[in-house]
Every structure is written in C-alpha cells, then in structure tokens.
Symmetry: C2
Subunit: 196 residues, 2 copies
C-alpha cells in the first residue's frame, strides 16, 4: 500500500493550466454577471472548449465552490479565533458582520448559499459546513451566556443573515440600509424578557 487510493494523482500540465485559467476568468465573469453567469461565456473568455469547463467543474455549484472555498475557510477560522478572544455576544456579532459581507460578495450568491442548505448533493453544501458549524458554536456560546434567545438554532440564524444580504441583491435602492436591517434582525435575537 504505497499509494493511497484517494491520493491526488498528478494532473497533466495542460489540465492544470486550464483549471486555473477557468477559475481566474470565472472570478471575473461571476463578478460581472452574478452566480447565474453564462458558463459558455466563461469557457469562451478562458479560451477553452466548453467540454473542458464541464470536465473540471461538472456543475455550476462545483465552480462556485472552488470560487468560494478560501472565503469559507477563512470564516471558519475566524469563528474559532473569535470564540477564544472575544466575549460571546461581541464575537457573534462580529462574525455575523463578516459572514454577511462574504455571503453577498457576488450577485445571486445569497441564493446559491441558502439553497445549498437543503441540497446535500451540492459541493457547496460540504464547503459551507465547517463555516456553519463555527457560526453555530458562537451562537450556542452567546445563548449559554444569556445574550441570545434560546429558541433559534444555527440554521435559523444562517438563513436570516443570508436573507438580509439577499435584500440588497434584489433591490439596490435598499442596499444602503443593509447594515441597519441586520442590526434590527440581531435585536430580535435578544432574550425575551417577560416585561409584558
């Protein structure tokens, strides 16, 4: 057993180059057109055959996953760090602000990310997992300290923050209210005290 069956086989040089070309161009095209960008356009501008794009990225979500992986990993790491360094509520708020920015980086990304929650086949699902768990831990911590109400879970929070990002996506006119709307939602997460 000198070679692991899951060992990454060395790619041919042209394949490696094409993969990188596609990814670089995809970043540009998705920035321009959003997550529903024309894949044909990506292939054209990357100067590869359409089949080559599909060989490297069998689905649109596979391409998005490659585009977002770094960002997701960064958010997961940031959650862990904040969990050590900041008080529960502050840590959660700071992380959510970061997440809100990341999940709205491209037009349509909020939708792609939220839809992926229900679709376990999507490569985005797995890519988001560690980040989601990091956020969920910060939430649980803030709930344990009594800063956040107990009747919401990580998925609820994830969905709510993504939804606020989606608002700016759909209606540019409200985009400047995004931060404020997020803080309104977070205010709703305060513990319910029975003050009648």
């Amino acid at each position: 057993m000198t070679t692991d069956s899951a060992a990454p086989r060395a790619q041919r040089a042209d394949a490696q180059r094409n993969y990188q070309r596609i990814l670089d161009i995809a970043r540009i095209v998705v920035a321009e057109q959003g997550t529903e960008a024309s894949l044909r356009d990506v292939a054209r501008r990357a100067e590869v055959g359409l089949g080559t794009l599909y060989r490297h990225f069998p689905t649109r979500d596979a391409l998005l996953e490659a585009l977002m992986r770094e960002g997701f990993e960064r958010l997961a790491a940031r959650a862990a760090a904040l969990g050590e360094s900041a008080p529960p509520l502050a840590a959660l708020r700071e992380w959510l602000a970061d997440f809100a920015v990341g999940s709205a980086r491209y037009r349509g990304l909020s939708g792609s990310i939220l839809a992926t929650l229900s679709d376990e086949e999507s490569p985005l699902h797995a890519a988001c997992l560690a980040m989601r768990e990091g956020g969920a831990r910060l939430l649980a911590r803030a709930q344990a300290s009594g800063d956040i109400r107990d009747d919401i879970d990580g998925t609820d929070l994830f969905a709510l923050v993504t939804a606020v990002g989606w608002i700016a996506d759909q209606a540019p006119a409200i985009a400047r209210r995004q931060e404020h709307l997020l803080s309104v939602v977070l205010d709703g997460l305060a513990p319910r005290n029975a003050v009648a």
Copy 2:
C-alpha cells in the same frame, strides 16, 4: 367630449377570449414552475401563438401583475380595514402575516416583488403601491403608539418580511420555521429601551 381618451376600447371577442385563456393557464404554470416559468410553455398550453401572449403581456412582469392584482387589492383593503378596527400593534402584525402569505404564494414571487421596488418601470411596481402604502400607514400608526421602533420605514419592513418569505423559497428544509422567523424579525422591531 363624450368619449374619454382613456376609455377602455371594446376588445374584439377573440382577443378577450385569448387574454382570459392565457391568464388561466398562466396561473397553473406559475403554480407549477414559479415566476420564472417558461412563457413558451404558457402559450403552448393556452393554445395561442407566442406572439399573442406577448401582445397581451409585453413583459413577464405584466403577466405577473395581472396574476397578482386581485391579491394586492385585497391586501390594500385589508390594511385600511385593520387600521379602523384593531389596535395599532395587533393590526400591523395581522396584516404582515397576511402579506407574508401572499408574497410567497408562488415560488420566486418574493424576488419578483422585492426587485420591483427598485424598478419603477415594472407594472408590478404600480400594482404594489397601494398595498405598500396601506402597510406603511399601519406601521406609522404602530410607531405613533410607541409599539414599534422609529428608525425603520415602510420599505425596510416590506423588505424584511419579503426576505423571510424568500427563505422558505430557497430552502424547503426551513420552510416550517417561517412563522417563527417572522416573529423573531418582528421582535426586532420593538422599541429600543435603553436598558443597557
């Protein structure tokens, strides 16, 4: 001046029939496929030429507007009624629950409705206006009575509630949490008391 220039000219019988056929079928197809339904499919199943569909409904939003008009008018009327009959906060909450249901009636509708806020050309924009104003009045009333914080306006509220509807749209797994998420958001609208 016996005839108003804006008077509705009598339509030819076949035109009238086609209009109705398209609308009836569109209701079915949009229920099946959502607001991004294939217009070709609508024309096919309504057994009219594709051009006939475009003649009656020049844009997708024009078709959606015809589909939703009644519902919007009902919501506008309901806002007025609740403004007379119920205490400020209860009226607002009840109306928002109604609105939440209506704005999520079809898959994709939340998006179509919110996008229309920024697009004044869309026929949906005008169709929503009276309803939005009705909601805004209920909001202002609840703010005047001190039940709702002052730093949000009708557009903010409209966007937030639509966004909660969108969540269920994207992730069926969370659909059953919709009511709860809406109540979390509404809790965030409570006045900010300086309780440190």
